[in-house]
Symmetry: C2
Subunit: 128 residues, 2 copies
DNA sequence: CTTGACCCTCCAGTGACTGGAATCCTTATC
DNA sequence: GATAAGGATTCCAGTCACTGGAGGGTCAAG
């Protein structure tokens, strides 16, 4: 499989796949012409990475998760710890964003949005 | 006012304030010794920026908002447009994160988290 | 033999800072 | 006057996870 095929299969851009090789997440073989050759296991790993990234895991988390995935002697507790920590971070982020949204929502609703200069949004930002 | 004073007043790190000068958001005067000299209007602008950033506005949005703030002939509609667009982006982001959270939450709850290797989180990431 | 679709590497840029090195200025104390 | 602490300066590099682009090699079809 060339990089284009595996890109289509996994939905990851070829650039991203090359980058993942660069940082050691996958190690595809090479053809005599220098092209990367991906086996099914490589494609599988990349799909795994794509899904982990889609869940918001950092690259380093992905590296850890991949290592755990390939370790038959892993403890599921280790996987759960990574996921739980990540879950907490997501929850924090959601709370932050919701606070922003609530404030913004109120400000936007208070603003007439016409051609006059008077604006409660700016007033709030500039509050003395 | 030196950078340290304005940093304390606004809560922005000195590094950040220098960076904001670098990208042209503020233009403090200079003392004969080369030190930045911040007037009240500079401190005020920086506080404005700090609050806009805290609401998640991008630097470019902040630049726009600051320009609108300083333009007595602004139309509040222009401010509202920036804020509304940003609000939509935040709402999208929240929805994304909530979807991640829901998936992760379920996976985490399904995982025993013991010393056995069997793990539904990895199973989901690796789904064939 | 040419065309177009692939593939390769390498370098630079993104956003919004942040850390660190090396140096200079000010203020207080001895 | 020396010294030390604390604060100021500049400049360079790094963060994260890619992404874009230049410049060039390879392959299959017509």
């Amino acid at each position: 499989m060339n990089i284009g095929d595996v890109s289509e299969r996994t939905g990851l851009p070829a650039k991203t796949i090359r980058y993942y090789e660069d940082i050691g997440l996958v190690r595809p073989a090479r053809d005599t012409n220098g092209y990367r050759v991906f086996r099914d296991t490589d494609a599988h790993k990349l799909a795994f990475l794509g899904r982990a990234r889609a869940l918001g895991f950092s690259i380093e988390d992905c590296r850890t998760l991949l290592a755990l995935y390939e370790d038959d002697d892993r403890a599921s507790a280790d996987v759960k710890a990574v996921a739980t920590e990540h879950l907490h971070q997501i929850e924090d982020k959601i709370a932050q964003l919701q606070a922003m949204r609530d404030t913004l929502n109120e400000l936007v609703h208070c603003c007439a949005g016409d051609n006059r200069p008077d604006c409660p949004i700016l007033k709030d930002l500039a509050r003395h």
